[in-house]
Structures are given as structure tokens and as C-alpha cells.
Amino acid sequence: MIEARNFSITYRHRVFKKIYALNNVTLKIEEGDVVGIAGESGCGKSTFARGILKLFNSWQIYSMGGEVFVDGQEILKEKEARLSQIRGKKVAMIFQHPYLSFNPVLKIKKQIPAGEFSPLQNKGEILSQILEKVGLEERVLELYPHQLSGGMLQRVQIAGALLLKAKVLIADEPTSSLDAITQKKIINLLKKIVETENLTLIFISHNLRLIRYLTKKTFIFYGGFLVEEGPTDEVFENPLHPYTKALLKCIPEPHKKIEPIPGDPPDLSQKTSKCPFFERCYKRESICEKFPPYRGERRKVLCFYPEAKYRIENNK
């Protein structure tokens, strides 16, 4: 469904000239997968999501490399006009800030896409069915964005994706500006919609609890690199990369000591030839000064010395 091969993005920057936001990411997302992308701020999660739809201004980009396929169609070299057939229609996106995602001077009904209806279908009927699915009343159509709450606007964004019958839904931190109760409602809605509509969901979040609750497969990003992937349960129960291990210790849990990762996230303006996690890793060795391979079958990891269990399984 979605496949990235050696996908790299370098941003232009006023001071640092180049920001290496995404480096050689190779991954594959099958149809019907519910995947999560996790990592710290600035690890390239959102850049990757935007890259799938090529949602950039040309002045932002210094260079873009590799290939991205959506439904077998190459995205990066495609012309803008052709991309509009994919944006929203095949792949829909839900953004983080509900109030920034809508035009403040237009009513909601003008902002949700009309979609393609066969002449036999009644547009109003479909609209009301979809609004019911996402748990909204029809009166919201007549309102302006500032009259709705953050949670309601996120529901409107989901309704928009359903109207266009998108097969893939990318949710980029859809709940991080909502409070805990609304967050759970939206997450449960996403879960329900994905199951009933048979969608592929790419869920991006720094909240690892949500990733564990919602997704079946997890990708962990660090400093623009994909460092680990695997089925969510296995990644959370038996993390292979030292970074994943450290990240999981940061999740607040009752009656457990919180252990922050020492040091700061890497400087993205310099290209690294070492392992990206070298500076902060607790078990680094001299070999880690070289760039590690990304290897594995079902679970992949970017490390010379992944946790012991993995090495026994793979006879390394």
C-alpha cells in the first residue's frame, strides 16, 4: 500500500543551511495495517507523514531522495496536478491543531469535501450518515470553526476523510492538544472507524500509551532514522534497540520510577557517520562509531548490539 525506499528529506534552514530531517528510511505498510510511528520531538515522524503526500513548499526543501510508493504510484517525482488525485482521495490526513486546520471564516459545511457521489445517492443522506458515524450532530454544518470544541473539530476532520472514501488515514498527533477524556473518545472513534471501514491507519504520536492501545505494528524513529520496527506488543514487551528501551522507561506509570534519557536529542544540522544514538547510548562500544546496519526479518533494528534475546534467535 505505502512503501518508502531510502526516503530522505533535507530542509533548507536560514542559519544551519541544511537540516537532515529524514535519512534513508525504508519501510512498508500493507493494506489494512494499523501502524504507529513513535519518537521524540524532531525525530522525523511528521516529516515522514508529510512526505507520503509531498505536502511541502518547494522553498522548504533542500533535497529529497529515494522513492515513495502509494498504491504502486511513485509520489516524489509526480507532478502537483496528479498528486491531487492522491491527497485526500487515497490518503487523508488529520492534523494536530484543530483550530489551525480549518479556515476560520467559512462554515464547516463549506470546508468538508463534497466527495464523489453517484447521481442515485442523496448527498445530504450520506453526509448525515457519516456525521452520525463520527458522533456529530447535523447542526455543526452551519457553525464556524471557533464555535466548535477541539474534539468536535477532530471529528469533522475524520468525517472529511470518510466522505472522500480515503483508504489510508494518517493521523499526525490527533489528540495531543486535547484533554484526557476527549482524547480517549477520539482514539476509540479512530479504532472503531478503522475496523468498520477497513482503513489503513498511520498513527503518529509521542504518547506511547496510545500507540500501544491502538496499533498493531510500531516504527520507532530517532534523529531522522528508523531505528526499530516490529509488532507493537513485542516492541513494547521486548525492545531491541537501546533507544526504544530508554524511551519506554520514560512512560509515566503509577508506582514506577521515571527514568529520563540522559543528554539531548541529536543536532540534525550535521550528518552523522556514527550510530545516531551513539552519544546517549548506555551500552556503546568502539564499533558503534561506524554506522550500524538495519537488519532483521520480522523485527528490524538499527544496531550492532541489539538486546541479547534477538541475537540468540538470529544466531548472531
Binding site: 521524540e40 520531538s41 486535547l178 484533554d179 480517549k184 503509577p254 529520563p260
Partner: protein, 256 residues
Amino acid sequence: MTEKMLEVKNVSKVYFVEKGIFLKKVQPKHVLKNVSLKLCPGEIVALVGESGSGKSTLAKIIAKLEKPDSGEVIIDGINAQNFPSRVYGTKVGIVFQNPLTSLNPKLKVKTILNEVIALRKKISGDVLFDLKTIAEIFSLDEKVLNAFPSQISGGQAQRVAIARSYAMFPNYLILDEVTSSLDVSTSAKIVKIFQNLNREFKTAMLFITHDLILAGLIANKIFVLKDGEIVEEGDTFKVLNFPQNNYTQYLKEAII
């Protein structure tokens, strides 16, 4: 001799919401209704509630940024309104959710912190923390100190904002959703700093959050706020494991 503590006594606050095209229809909105709470030295108290429950208004009232309509805030036995605002800074510090809007974009981090350190010296005459100690406590390196707020990351900016409040060495620290805009690892770092400050300097903290798990991890006591009223209070372990109120139960169910 009065006991040393921060006490909020029966505080109420009404906002008037203007409605209609010409903003003429004025509707009262009761944001806080007879809220009382106590914060003793060395304690970390969590205040939890949904958006719009009045958490931030209470924080602003305690920090004297808003006046309560009725009731009072008493610090170490003296009414907050009787403190000169400079001295009040050495008693109560406040940190807000968004660090980038609370730091002056035109000043270097170093200057921001030095200003506060100088102010503290002027008020009390002693230097408790110099720039070096502050930078060490909040793990701010030379690069961050010489940067402008727009050049540092959100987590670093939040650490600077907390450091700025802390440079006044307040007895009570009000933390209004300080970790909600940060990712897991940076918020873990900041939570760790709070735990260290509480252990070493016995600073009392009012930790305002909507994250019940984080509240359970950091606080000794919890207050649950709903529509401007405190519906449940007590020991963290008791409140989280055996909630008496339906609303607390409801909040607990929202934990994923």
C-alpha cells in the same frame, strides 16, 4: 505563630461572556465556586480536571494575576493582596504551558535568567543561586544560555521558563500544564527535575494537569476539579485506587 502554608479559602470567580453580534448580551460564567485547598511546604499537590474546569484560573488567582471575586489566598498567614508584587515573587512562582510565549524573544536565555537572579538579590540581599548553579540544576549548557528563546527546543525552553521562576527561589511553585506540550522523554526529564527540587529544597508544588497517571506519579495529594468545584480530595493512592466520586471514576476510566 501561624503555620507556614499556602491556603486558598473559598475562592469564587465569575467571568462575563459577551454574546450576540454586538457583544451586548452578557452572560455570567461561574468558573470557580468556593474552592479551598492547602499546600504545605515540601508537598506536591496535583490538581486534575478537564479543559474548562477552572484549573488555570485558579493558578492565575494564586499567582495574583487575577483577582478572586470572593475568598482569599493566604500565604504563611498573610493575605496575598497585602504583599508587594516583587516580594510575592519570592513566595509564589508560576510556570505556564507554552514556554515560547512566556519567554521574552528579544533577550538571550542568559540575560533572562540573570535579570531574575539580580532581582532576587535586590529583594532579599542574598544570592541563593547564581547562573552556574541554576544552569546545573536544570541541565542548561553553554549553548542554550547563549541562544535566544526561538533557537532552542520546546523542552529546553520549558526548562528555561522553570529555571526563571525558580531563580527567585519561591516557597511555592505553581505548574500549569508544564509538560502537556512536550514529548515523553522531555517530560520525563522535567518531572525528574521537579522530584529533585522537592527532595533537596523542600519546594512545595501545585502540579496542574489533565494527566491522571502523571499526577499519580508525582503528587502526594490530589484535588479533582469539576466545573469550578472540588469534587474529591485526598491522598493520591486513595483517590486513584478507591475513588469515592463518580467523576473521579470517570476520569480514571479515560486512562489508556
